[in-house]
C-alpha cells in the first residue's frame, strides 16, 4: 500500500511544487490553454467510443464463447486471447498493412466493387478506434464471459415456460444478470484506454493526440515534469471519478440482484 501511495503522492506533489515554492501554474496552463482541454476531451471521447465498440462486439462474442463447446469454443478462446500474446507495435503495424489505402482491405473492397475510392481507414480517428478496440476486446469479453458462465440456465427456461418471448427473456432476465460483467468490462476498457499511447501515435492522424502522448513529451523531451505531473494528476482524478461512479452503479446492480 505504501509502495503504491508514495509514488502517487510524489506525483501530485511534483505538479504543485516547483522552483522552490508552491504553485498552481501548471494547472493554470492546463485549464487556460484550450489545446490541453481539447486533448483531455479527445482522450475521454476516444476511450468512450472504444468502450462502446468493444461492448457491441464483445457481448455477442462472450455469449457465443460461453454457449459453444468443443472445437469452436477452443478457437474462440484463442481468438480472444491471441491479442494478449502479440506485441502492441506488431499489431499496430499489422493494422497499417491491412487498413492502408493500398492495403489488404481496400484492395479487396475495390476489386469486389464494394467501394469505388479507397476508404481512408488509417491515419485518422477511425484507425485509432479500430486499433484500440482490437487490443481492448479481451478486457471486455473476459469479465462478461465470466458472468455469463455463472448465469443459471434454468432461469431462462423458467422465463420461457412462463411464456416470455426471446426478446423479453433477454431484456428482463439475461441482460440484468450479466450487467455486472458488462459494467466491469466497460470500466476496465475505458480506464485502460484513457492511458493509450502507442496506437494513437501510429494509427492516428493530425488530430489524434491523447493525453498520454503529452505526458510523455513533457516527461522525456522538454523535461517539464511539473506539467507532466499535472497532466497525470488530471488523468488520475478523471479515472478515480469514473471509478467511483461506476462503483456506485455496480452496488445498485448487486442490490437488484438480491431482490430478484
Amino acid at each position: 500500500m505504501l509502495l503504491f501511495l508514495y509514488p502517487l503522492a510524489t506525483l501530485v506533489l511534483t505538479s504543485v511544487y516547483g522552483d522552490g515554492g508552491w504553485t498552481l501554474q501548471h494547472y493554470r496552463r492546463l485549464f487556460t490553454v484550450p489545446a490541453y482541454l481539447k486533448v483531455l476531451r479527445n482522450t475521454i471521447q476516444t476511450a468512450g467510443l472504444v468502450t462502446l465498440i468493444c461492448l457491441a462486439l464483445g457481448y455477442p462474442l462472450a455469449y457465443r464463447l460461453t454457449t459453444s463447446s468443443g472445437v469452436l469454443r477452443g478457437v474462440l478462446v484463442i481468438a480472444v486471447l491471441m491479442p494478449f500474446w502479440t506485441s502492441l507495435l506488431v499489431r499496430a503495424y499489422g493494422w497499417m498493412v491491412i487498413l492502408h489505402p493500398n492495403g489488404l482491405l481496400n484492395t479487396v473492397a475495390l476489386w469486389t466493387g464494394v467501394v469505388r475510392e479507397p476508404l481512408e481507414l488509417v491515419h485518422n480517428t477511425t484507425g485509432v478506434l479500430i486499433g484500440m478496440s482490437q487490443i481492448m476486446l479481451p478486457y471486455m469479453v473476459l469479465p462478461i464471459a465470466a458472468v455469463m458462465q455463472s448465469v443459471d440456465p434454468r432461469l431462462l427456461q423458467a422465463a420461457s415456460s412462463l411464456g416470455a418471448p426471446p426478446w423479453r427473456r433477454f431484456v428482463s432476465v439475461y441482460a440484468p444478470l450479466t450487467l455486472p460483467g458488462v459494467l466491469a468490462g466497460c470500466l476496465l476498457v475505458f480506464i485502460i484506454s484513457l492511458g493509450f499511447f502507442v496506437i494513437p501515435a501510429l494509427l492516428g492522424g493530425t488530430r489524434d493526440i491523447l493525453l498520454a502522448q503529452l505526458i510523455d513529451f513533457n516527461m522525456s523531451k522538454v523535461l517539464n515534469w511539473g506539467f507532466a505531473a499535472a497532466l497525470s494528476t488530471v488523468l488520475l482524478v478523471t479515472t478515480l471519478a469514473i471509478y467511483a461512479v461506476a462503483g456506485r452503479m455496480l452496488r445498485i446492480q448487486t442490490l437488484w440482484g438480491s431482490f430478484r
Binding site: V39, H123, A201, S220
Partner: protein, 358 residues
C-alpha cells in the same frame, strides 16, 4: 583491469599494489558498482544497426587501444538522465542525444562540463552551435525530401518545398514528422517563400498557416521505423525523412528517391551526465571518436556525415556523395538552429498541438 607490467623483482610497493589488485579483483566478483565501473564506459545509445556500426568503427578499436571496455545500454531518454542525476545515482558515462539536449541538459543542471584538454575540438567543422562546454557533435545527418518514384520521375519531381506545397502539380499524400522540431515548420516556411537565411527565429504562426494549405493531405509519422515502413510500402507521394532511413529504405528497394535541395542539416551530440561514474573514461572515448580516422570509420560503417572535415580525406567520393554535409548537399542545405529549438520547444509544441487538434 590492471595492465601487465614487466617484472623487475618484487618490491614492497608492487607487492602491495598486486595485493590490492587481487583484493579488488576479488571484490569485482561481487556486483559492486564502483569497482566494476573502473575499466568501462557505459554508453547510452539508440541501439539497433547504428549501435552495431559504432561497435565496429569506434568501440572495438577504442578498447583495443585503451583497454577500456564500452558497455552499451539502450534508450538514451532525457527523462532517465534527469531521474538518475536527481537521485544521485548516475549510471551512464556518455549519452548520445539530439542537439537540443546540449542546452536543455545544462539548464537543468544535468551535465558535466567536457574536458577540452583531453578532447581536441579544433578539427570539428567550425560552427558556433556545434560545440558547447557540455557537448560535442557525434555525426551529421539530414532531413531530406523523399519522393515516390512510381508517381514522379527523375526529370519531373518536386525539387523545393514550394513544389511540395503545390498539391495540383504534385498530388498525393505528404509524409511529415509529427514532432514539433522534426522539420515540418521549417519546410512550411520555406514553402511560403521565407528565404533560408531568414528562417530562424521561426515565425510559428506563419508556418502553421502554411501547413494549413496541405493539412488534408498530410500523414504524420511518429517514429523513424514508421517512415521507413511508409517508404518501403510507397505509402506517400512526397515527404521529409532522415537521410539514413531513406538510404536504408532505398537499399530495401523502396520506390523512393532523395532530393537533396533544401535539406535540413542537423547533428547528434554526445553529453556526459553529471556524476558519471567514469568521467575520465568518457572523455578519452569522446577524444577518440572525434579523430579524423574514427570519423571516417563511422562514415564508412553507417551513412552519417563526419563532423571532422579532415575525415573526407580517407572517404571515397562515391561514399562521400551520400553522407550528410557531403558534396551533394553543398550549398543546398540549411543548418537547423537547434539552440533556438532548445529554447522554444515547449511553447512552439503548445502551438503546434493546438493547431493539430483545432
Amino acid at each position: 583491469m590492471t595492465t601487465p607490467r614487466d617484472s623487475r623483482g618484487i618490491t614492497r610497493r608492487t607487492f602491495l599494489s598486486t595485493a590490492a589488485a587481487g583484493l579488488s579483483a576479488g571484490a569485482a566478483l561481487w556486483p559492486h558498482p564502483t569497482t566494476a565501473q573502473k575499466g568501462r564506459v557505459v554508453f547510452a545509445t539508440w541501439g539497433g544497426s547504428w549501435e552495431e556500426a559504432m561497435r565496429k568503427a569506434w568501440f572495438q578499436p577504442f578498447t583495443q587501444k585503451t583497454g577500456i571496455e564500452v558497455v552499451t545500454v539502450s534508450g538514451p531518454d532525457y527523462g532517465k538522465v534527469r531521474a538518475m542525476v536527481k537521485a544521485g545515482q548516475t549510471e551512464w558515462d556518455i549519452v548520445e542525444c539530439n542537439p537540443d539536449f546540449q542546452w536543455i541538459g545544462p539548464r537543468e543542471g544535468l551535465l558535466e562540463r567536457l574536458d577540452f584538454k583531453v578532447i581536441d575540438r579544433t578539427p570539428i567543422v567550425p560552427d558556433p552551435k556545434l560545440v558547447t562546454e557540455y557537448s560535442v557533435p557525434q555525426v551529421f545527418w539530414a532531413r531530406v525530401m523523399v519522393y515516390n518514384t512510381k508517381q514522379f520521375s527523375k526529370e519531373n519531381h518536386p525539387r523545393s518545398w514550394q513544389d511540395v506545397w503545390d498539391l495540383n502539380r504534385f498530388p498525393g499524400k505528404r509524409a511529415l514528422y509529427s514532432k514539433t522540431n522534426g522539420g515540418s515548420l521549417e519546410i512550411a516556411l520555406l514553402a511560403d517563400g521565407v528565404p533560408p537565411d531568414k528562417l530562424y527565429p521561426l515565425d510559428v504562426n506563419r508556418a502553421l498557416k502554411s501547413l494549413d494549405r496541405i493539412k488534408s493531405q498530410v500523414i504524420w509519422y511518429d517514429t523513424n521505423q514508421q517512415i521507413t515502413q511508409y517508404m518501403v510500402g510507397g505509402q506517400f507521394a512526397v515527404g521529409i525523412a532522415p537521410d539514413g532511413r531513406a538510404l536504408a529504405a532505398i537499399g530495401q528497394s523502396a520506390p523512393i528517391a532523395i532530393e537533396y535541395n533544401q535539406s535540413i542539416l542537423t547533428w547528434s551530440a554526445f553529453v556526459v551526465p553529471k556524476g558519471a561514474p567514469n568521467r575520465e573514461g568518457a572523455m578519452s572515448l569522446l577524444a577518440y571518436v572525434l579523430t579524423p580516422q574514427a570519423q571516417a570509420a563511422i562514415a564508412m560503417a553507417f551513412p552519417y556525415g563526419p563532423v571532422v572535415a579532415k575525415a573526407y580525406d580517407s572517404i571515397p567520393p562515391e561514399r562521400a556523395a551520400i553522407l550528410a554535409g557531403g558534396p551533394q548537399q553543398a550549398g543546398r542545405y540549411i543548418l537547423a538552429d537547434e539552440r533556438w529549438w532548445a529554447e522554444n520547444l515547449n511553447e512552439v509544441t503548445e502551438k503546434f498541438t493546438a493547431w493539430r487538434i483545432a
